[in-house]
Symmetry: C2
Subunit: 141 residues, 2 copies
DNA sequence: TATTGTTATACTCTATAACTATA
DNA sequence: TATAGTTATAGAGTATAACAATA
């Protein structure tokens, strides 16, 4: 009856994860859109990237990434520079202000959740600690 | 050092949950928008509701819910009726077609996740089983 | 008057199509 | 010619403001 168990667990897990992600989304207080924040995070993770690479990473079309980068650049959160050898390409990288905003945004989000976690028992915290990497593996599988 | 542990766990859990929810969102193959699906699910959970109650439940403004219900009603997924005693209010309820679509949508979403769960060990499945209700409690806290 | 829902209008985010500049 | 990015334009989803109907 393994498959029955998995089907039921899948249903329960999906609902729980979606509810928690929705709640976390509501608790954010950033002035940037999800894609703008994600773009900053991707730049932090990968260092400098071309506009096309960023569009592929965020799964948006190039014109959309053009707008995202234009906004972030105007806000001083990323810098745009010409590619050293290919004049067609545009290189984007995180500015110190962008990195700082990302860190503060991240801390704000974590703050709400950390407060909730403080109300859990040690056993529940242990369960969550073990579950987090498993959820991560599921997301990447 | 309890708070340090919780802060780190909060960060890890938030990332894992967001990644998995994003992945699950990508795996959906519904023709309805997230809000439209959520509205059907809320109606299934609560039975008949007024348009104002639905707007509050989904955290959208009344005009937005007017549009959602108009679309779902045109599609035959919900029925609209007058309130028995208050002529201003509009009562919405799920039709059999709406319930069927919801069930099929849910099964489609569960299918992908169940397939991934099948690759986990018994111990990992047990961890996830215990974690799901805790995530739910976090979402509702 | 206050409340429920609708209509009118605008904004944000993203897409496709057409275009410019460089390879 | 092919490719990287931009500009022009359109569509989906949601919001606020103004309005109509009912309490």
């Amino acid at each position: 009856m393994e498959s029955v168990t998995e089907a039921r667990l899948a249903s329960a897990l999906r609902l729980s994860v979606m509810r928690l992600s929705r709640r976390m989304r509501q608790e954010r207080s950033s002035s940037l859109s999800p894609t703008q924040i994600a773009t900053l995070a991707t730049l932090e993770r990968h260092g400098t990237m071309t506009l096309g690479e960023l569009a592929a990473a965020e799964r948006v079309q190039p014109p959309s990434m053009t707008r995202v980068i234009a906004f972030l650049s105007d806000a001083g959160l990323v810098s745009r520079s010409a590619h050293p050898t290919d004049g067609r390409q545009v290189i984007a990288s995180l500015t110190p202000a962008g990195a700082a905003l990302l860190a503060s945004d991240r801390a704000q989000r974590d703050e709400w959740l950390a407060g909730r976690l403080a109300a859990l028992s040690a056993e529940e915290l242990a369960t969550i600690s073990h579950a987090a990497p498993i959820l991560d593996a599921l997301a990447n599988s």
